[in-house]
């Protein structure tokens, strides 16, 4: 507890307008009329902030819970979808956010010491971190949007500006050469080709999954051939294909050169016959969770701007810096949630 009750020697009675009644002459101006002293007010503010942060965690808790259930039921979707995220940008963003959390913590210390220039520098650095994070997020999101890697039903529309989308004529030619030898893959490609001939954006084949028989594509797709897969472990190797466990050659190749196999996708998911059913679920939960987190970062930007404004106005002192402390707590929680999001989506 670093705060001491302020001496009641201020006579700037309530001009900041708590209410018309705020005319207690023995109160410092920051002190609400219903508090005995600044320390009591500070402790209450902190307690309120912690409760609010608990509600924030629970708000995200629903989404984390949804993530856990979906991942538990369909690990293949998450293994497949996470290839499309850039670990590089994610890692940079994690560093940016961690650094901004550090500058925020330094800012609180500056406020406690009454170092106004230091506080402003720290808050501005934190603000830069927040903008950096949002900028990188913008790069990532716009890439996903151009590739059509979108949540929900929008996933099944042809991408607007894709690097890996193959036009239908080329695709038909390619598939002759690259078709793989198993019956399973052949039948899938047949379904794929049929849809390609119909000149439609390629929609998910209705397939039974390894775990859940309930997973089928959007309505209207149930006519395509249902393929019951055996229990297999899937690995990804180059060309974005999925090999069955029995495919020893592919396994061996993957074991020797995993980074090469994972190198780069050459197939758009909509054109990939080995895409797991309902692959859009990964992007649904990805956009929901990072989107809600992004909204919190935007709110954080507003909070930091407000803190900078108040600092310029000289509202903080070693006796009164509750808003800085609470804003800092909020920023740390935003950071903390990202610390969980990054590995859950990008790494595992």
């Amino acid at each position: 507890m670093t705060q001491v009750p302020m001496e009641h020697d201020h006579h700037e009675a309530g001009l900041h307008g708590h209410d018309v009644h705020d005319a207690h002459h023995d109160h410092p101006k920051e002190l609400g009329h219903h508090w005995d002293n600044l320390n009591q007010q500070f402790e209450a503010g902190k307690l309120g902030m912690w409760l609010f942060l608990a509600t924030e965690i629970l708000l995200f808790g629903g989404l984390f819970c949804g993530y856990a259930i979906w991942r538990g039921n369909h690990p293949d979707i998450f293994a497949y979808g996470s290839q499309f995220l850039s670990v590089k940008w994610g890692a940079i963003n994690t560093c940016v956010l961690l650094l901004s959390s550090m500058t925020m913590a330094m800012g609180v210390t500056m406020a406690q010491r009454g170092n106004k220039p230091g506080l402003i520098i720290c808050l501005v650095l934190t603000l830069l971190g927040a903008f950096g994070f949002l900028g990188i997020k913008y790069v990532e999101y716009s890439h996903k949007f151009h590739e059509g890697l979108l949540p929900g039903i929008a996933f099944y529309e042809k991408p607007s500006d894709s690097h890996i989308w193959v036009e239908i004529e080329e695709q038909a030619g390619d598939q002759q050469e690259t078709s793989i030898a198993t019956d399973v893959a052949e039948s899938k490609e047949e379904a794929e080709l049929q849809m390609a001939r119909a000149d439609l954006p390629v929609m998910p084949a209705a397939e039974a999954t390894t775990n859940e028989p309930a997973a089928i594509g959007p309505s209207g797709l149930n006519q395509s051939r249902v393929v019951q897969e055996e229990e297999t472990y899937r690995v990804f190797y180059k060309e974005g294909r999925i090999a069955a466990q029995e495919d020893q050659a592919a396994m061996a190749e993957y074991a020797e050169h995993p980074e090469e196999a994972m190198r780069e996708l050459e197939k758009h998911p909509l054109q990939d016959p080995d895409r797991p059913p309902n692959a859009q679920k990964f992007f649904t939960i990805y956009f929901l969770m990072t989107g809600l987190h992004g909204i919190h970062v935007v709110v954080g930007v507003i909070v930091i701007l407000w803190l900078i404004y108040l600092t310029f106005r000289g509202r903080f002192s070693p006796h009164y810096y509750t808003p800085v402390d609470c804003g800092g707590l909020y920023w740390h929680v935003v950071d903390l949630i990202w610390i969980f999001l990054f590995p859950l989506f990008y790494l595992i």
């Binding site: 708590h18 209410d19 018309v20 009644h21 005319a23 207690h24 002459h25 609400g32 009329h33 219903h34 508090w35 005995d36 009591q40 402790e43 209450a44 307690l47 309120g48 409760l51 609010f52 608990a54 509600t55 924030e56 629970l58 708000l59 995200f60 808790g61 629903g62 989404l63 819970c65 949804g66 259930i69 979906w70 369909h74 979707i77 949540p151 929900g152 039903i153 929008a154 309930a214 997973a215 089928i216 594509g217 959007p218 309505s219 059913p277 309902n278 859009q280 679920k281 649904t284 929901l288």
Partner: protein, 581 residues
């Protein structure tokens, strides 16, 4: 501590009457932008009661429709669906959940605690404005924007997410629910911090009136459960608007996941409704029996126990949803365990009544009515918590009767009882006791005729939410029960109109209320009626709030006063002259 002793027997002086919170400042804006918890509480009360009126109209429409097997009101079944959906959604989200904590709690909590205000007055005002905004969204649904709302108050998927199955009003309603959720969260945060940080000297945790314990337990649930509802309806919104597929099996989603998310909030929400009601009853029973509450600690801890258990029983709403038998058994067992702390409370209230000096004032009648109704509502809950009987009773009128006994008959009856109890304090006026007792009799009889019949109706297999019931095997039997139930609902409505009538009359023509009309010992009865703007000039010193031996009847002001032969520990009275600089 400097106190300004003013004898409580001092009659209401003109200065005091002028210096109360109602007349402190004037004009509509001084109300809408007030930071005074008492005014915010009164505004909540007005809002909640208006919405209670609207929800009640829908209830009467629903009951009237069922007068005949073919349906007496709506020629379109979708309109019946709209009516019962709006009845449920308005009553739950806009009436019962904010009724006790936000309306009565806001008014009473800081005064009872001995504080000048809640911890965060601005947040309190903000939460009231959020409530208003949420109400606006429901009014939009009410006027059938985008076709209105017909999913039932639970917004179950896939009804709520599939185009053509539900009307577009779902979108508006879930925005409203989201906003109302945050209103509730902020109220809860405010109460928790207030109780932790604003207790005056002597107000230890175990000297707090039990209403405060109940509000504290409620606030914990509000803070911990409501965010999950927030994210659930946010997901529903995204699903509906963008086809996210979170709950849509065609896109790999899971509709039962929605039920889990929804009930994870909405079962604890049942305790948001009933816990503060129980707190009111603890106060009413003790004050109007003029006897120390029996088993104080047990009642206090049972509130916390109910709050904790309340988080672990949501699955009993989903026994027939296809969840695993093991989970069903576990949820059933935990459900039964909730009845233990509930029964502890009931037995403690009965023990408090035993050999008490009972005054059958209107609030006390509501409290006694509560005990009867809650006992029936609680015990029929056991039928529904039992797996075997629940299969038969699920989605019948038995369920309807059960939750009306608990949510309406218990939570709202307690709220109305509490309103009568604190009415003199809020308005400074006494209502007519005889009309009060008559109104209670109508409400109590009307309620039981309406809903006890429905237990019989449900056990005979009448499903809930049916617009018509002609052509069934038992149509004649159902018809008889429905007619009785509808007549009961008219008696109930008459009771509420009588109540509204004499309460409104009292505001304009009621006798001036004494400071302590019932003989309460908690701090709000030591303020003037109505209380001054600041509640307490200095933080008061607090003793045992259930020790009534220090009070005696004062004929001159028709209220109770502190006995002159006993020294007061500290005087929370605010002087009329010195009240405001």
């Amino acid at each position: 501590m400097t106190t300004i002793p003013v004898p409580p027997s001092q009659p209401v002086t003109p200065e005091l009457a002028r210096d109360n919170y109602l007349t402190y400042t004037r004009g509509i804006w001084s109300w809408l932008f007030t930071l005074d918890h008492k005014r915010i509480g009164v505004m909540y009360l007005c809002g909640v009661l208006s919405m209670f009126f609207v929800g009640g109209i829908f209830a009467l429409l629903v009951r009237t429709q069922l007068l005949t097997p073919e349906g007496a009101v709506f020629n379109d079944n979708a309109n019946y669906n709209r009516a019962f959906t709006l009845h449920g959604a308005i009553m739950v989200f806009l009436v019962i959940i904010p009724s006790v904590p936000a309306a009565l709690g806001n008014f009473v909590l800081p005064i009872m605690l001995g504080a000048k205000d809640v911890a965060f007055p601005r947040l309190n005002l903000f939460s009231f404005w959020l409530w208003m905004a949420g109400a606006v969204f429901f009014i939009l649904v009410l006027v059938n924007v985008d076709g209105g709302l017909d999913t039932g108050w639970t917004f179950y998927t896939p009804y709520s997410t599939t185009d053509g199955m539900a009307f577009g009003g779902v979108l508006w309603a879930v925005i409203g629910v989201f906003i109302l959720g945050f209103s509730s969260i902020f109220t809860g945060m405010n109460f928790i911090v207030t109780i932790h940080r604003l207790r005056p000297p002597g107000m230890t945790w175990f000297r707090m009136p039990l209403f405060l314990w109940a509000l504290y337990a409620t606030a914990l649930i509000q803070v911990l459960a409501t965010p999950v509802l927030g994210i659930t309806v946010a997901l529903l919104f995204m699903e509906r608007l963008f086809g996210m597929g979170f709950f849509n099996p065609a896109l790999g989603g899971d509709p039962v996941l929605y039920q889990h998310f929804f009930w994870f909030y909405s079962h604890p929400a049942v305790y948001i409704m009933i816990l503060p009601a129980m707190g009111i009853i603890s106060e009413l029973i003790s004050v109007h029996s003029h006897k120390h509450i029996f088993g104080y600690r047990f009642i206090a801890f049972s509130s916390i126990a109910i709050a904790v258990f309340g988080f672990l029983v949501w699955g009993h709403h989903m026994f027939t949803s296809g969840q695993s038998q093991l989970i069903n058994v576990i949820f059933s067992a935990i459900t039964f365990s909730v009845s233990i702390p509930s029964a502890i409370k009931v037995f403690n209230w009965l023990a408090t009544l035993y050999r008490g000096s009972i005054s059958l004032n209107t609030p006390m009648l509501y409290a006694l009515g509560f005990i009867v109704i809650f006992a029936i509502g609680g015990l029929t809950g056991l039928h529904l918590g039992t797996l075997a009987t629940d299969i038969h009773l699920h989605d019948t009128y038995f369920v309807v009767a059960h939750f009306h006994y608990v949510m309406m008959g218990s939570a709202l009856i307690a709220m109305i009882g509490g309103m009568h109890h604190w009415w003199p304090k809020m308005t400074g006026r006494m209502y007519n006791e005889n009309w009060g007792r008559f109104g209670f009799a109508l409400v109590f009889i009307g309620f039981n005729v309406t809903f006890f019949t429905q237990f019989a109706l449900g056990s005979q297999g009448m499903p809930r939410r049916y617009a018509t019931y002609n052509g069934m095997v038992l149509t004649d039997l159902y018809h008889l029960y429905h007619v009785i139930s509808t007549i009961g609902s008219y008696i109930l409505a008459l009771g509420f109109f009588v109540t509204a009538g004499y309460l409104l009359h009292s505001i304009f023509a009621g006798k001036r209320a004494p400071d302590n009309p019932w003989g309460g010992r908690s701090l709000e009865w030591q303020c003037t009626s109505p209380p001054p703007h600041d509640n307490f000039k200095e933080a008061p010193t607090v003793g045992d709030c259930y020790d009534y031996s220090v009070l005696e009847w004062d004929e001159s002001q028709q209220g109770y006063k502190w006995r002159e032969d006993i020294e007061r520990p500290g005087n929370p009275h605010v002087s009329g002259k010195d009240g405001h600089a």
